[in-house]
Amino acid sequence: MKTCEEYELALLGGQRTADVNDHLAGCPACQAFERDLGLVVARSSLPAPTDAERAALEGLVESTWSEWQRSARPRRSWVGYAAAAGSGALLATAGFWTTRPVREVVVERVVERPVVVASAAGAENEPNLTADEVFFEVMWPDLPEGETP
């Protein structure tokens, strides 16, 4: 036998089967839920977009493209700074490496190990993730305080 909640879920999907109708006829609680559902949906539904709203979408491709280009600029400069910092660090390391005191090493024996081929994805030392894992890991827009995806 189905519970009231199951009938309510059926109503959400708009399924008015004979079974649902029979239950509704004798269940005041589900009748009240159906009324509430209609009321909430009616009050929540926005009117159809006006001409002014439709007009607001004109030229959206161009303005979004400009915004994308504009947001790309700081990204590029950030990448530039990071590259410069990386180069500086490399130079400093190289300088230290060439001037460090060298200890003499004597090779006593050689052990041969099998060659390990790194996979293409592993080359960046980052795990492969599914689309959603990647999305939630690195890109959730301005998450409200106290909420986690």
Binding site: L9, L39, S44, E53, A56, L60, W68, A131, M139, E147
Partner: protein, 197 residues
Amino acid sequence: MPAQPRTDGALCAAFLTGDKDAFGELVRRHQEQVFRLVRRYASTPDEARELTQRAFVQAFEAARRTMPRLVASPGDVPFRAWLLRIAVNLGKNQVRDEGRWKRAPLGAVDERSSPTPSAHEQLERAQAEALTRRAVSALPRRQREVFTLRIDGGLPFAEIASTLGISEGNAKSHFHYAVKRLRDEVSALARDPGGTP
């Protein structure tokens, strides 16, 4: 035989490798859907447009950052799902950032209304909308996402489920709780319209 339209993922991959036309095609394909999702949270058409634009830029940025790390081929990026999720949450942030909806935006009332209703009817409708907006924005995150995608986006539950990465039964369950909660919240807000949600 006409050529098959390119998938969102394929367009996204094409754009990120330099095809600007693919960018335009993706924006045109989804702009109305995104606009419908964010307009609940915007007080003017221009603000809704701004939110729509930001949703696209953030979705492209998400794709740019993540595409190289995907297990599947880059063409499988779920661009539309990300875009819609971003749009719903940008709308919510807009409400949080600007602390609005104490009162209905009167400028928006004039622009949205049909020519026939009286000023009193317009005001009542705008206040009812504002109350509901506050109640919707106060819903728990998942309930709000499901509710907005269903009511504003007009998506079937199966599509809501795939957009949010949950089961269809779970999507219905969140909507169910949202309806019950909204019924209570809207009644409470109607009794105390100046109260904080």
